[in-house]
Symmetry: C2
Amino acid sequence: MPPRTLPIEPLTAAAFEPFGEVIEAAGAAERIAINEGFSERFHALARVDLGDAADGPAQALINIFRSKPRQLPMYLRMLERHPLGSQSFTPLAPGTFLVVVAPGAPDQPAPDLAGLRCFLAAAGQGVNYARGTWHHPLLSLHAVSDFLVVDRAGPGLNLQEFALAPESVWIPALD
Amino acid sequence: MPPRTLPIEPLTAAAFEPFGEVIEAAGAAERIAINEGFSERFHALARVDLGDAADGPAQALINIFRSKPRQLPMYLRMLERHPLGSQSFTPLAPGTFLVVVAPGAPDQPAPDLAGLRCFLAAAGQGVNYARGTWHHPLLSLHAVSDFLVVDRAGPGLNLQEFALAPESVWIPALD
C-alpha cells in the first residue's frame, strides 16, 4: 500500500483548537498597555496545565530544546503524549517548524490516526500542546533551532509513545 | 546631588543568583539528548514559582510582551515586584536587553537601593525573576522586541511598586 501523504496546513488558532493553543501576538484576545506605554501585554496566550492534584505535587519548568532540522519528505515513525501536563514550544528566533498532532482518548493506548494533522507554524508562532495530546517530537526545518519549552515536572509517568506502521504516513516536501 | 550612575554588568548566572535564574543553553547543568538524537534538552533552566497554596489556586500563564526600546542614558523612576510568583522574560529574537534588580525584604515596602544592579543580557539569554524580586519593567534596546513571559495568574495582589527619588539614579549609555 502506498504511504498516505499528510497535507501541510497553515497553523491557525481555530484549526489547532482541539489540540491546544497557538502562542502568537496576532489575534490575542487580551492586549493590555503596561509599563507607562512602553510595553504591550498579549495576555494568557496559553495556560500551563500541571494535571490533577491527585497526581502529586507538580511544577512548571522552563527549558530550552535545541533541534536539528529534518529533511522533507519524511516518514512519520512515532507519536508521543504527556498525560499529566501541557507542553509548549516557542521558537527563540523567527522561523518555521512543523506541528504534527492526532486526536486520541485518554484511556486508549493508540491515537486516532484518521485524524492526524500537520500544521506549518509561521514565524512568530509557537504552540502549547494540551495535556494528553498526541504529537510528533520537534520538527524544525532549515536550521538548528532553539525553542523555549514550558512543561511539567513532578511524580508519575508523563510520557507515552506510539509507533506508526513503517512507511505508512509521510510528510511531503514544502512547496 | 548628582545622580548615581549604575554600572552595566554582564549577565551571568552567578551574579544573578540572588535575584533569580538566567535562562540560557550555555552552562546548563542538565543537557539531555532526546528525540532519537534530533534534539537536546537543556533541562530546568528555570522553575515557575506560583507562591504558597495558602494564597489560593494559581496557574502559570504564557504571554508575549512587546516592548518599545529605551534611549540611554535614562533615569530610573520606579521598580516593581510580584510577591506571589516568579516572572520570566525570554527574547523571541536574538538581541540584548537590560535587567535592573534590587534586593529587598518581603516585609519591607522599599527595595534596598544600595544593592541596585544593572545587567546586560546578551543574545540567547533570558531571566526568571524569583518571587518577590524588585525589578524594573522591560528595558529593551535598539528595536521593538517581543518576549515570552511566564508568570502567575490567581487570586491576591501580585504587584507592588516603588518610586525612586526623581533623577537620583541613572543608567549610562552603552559603550
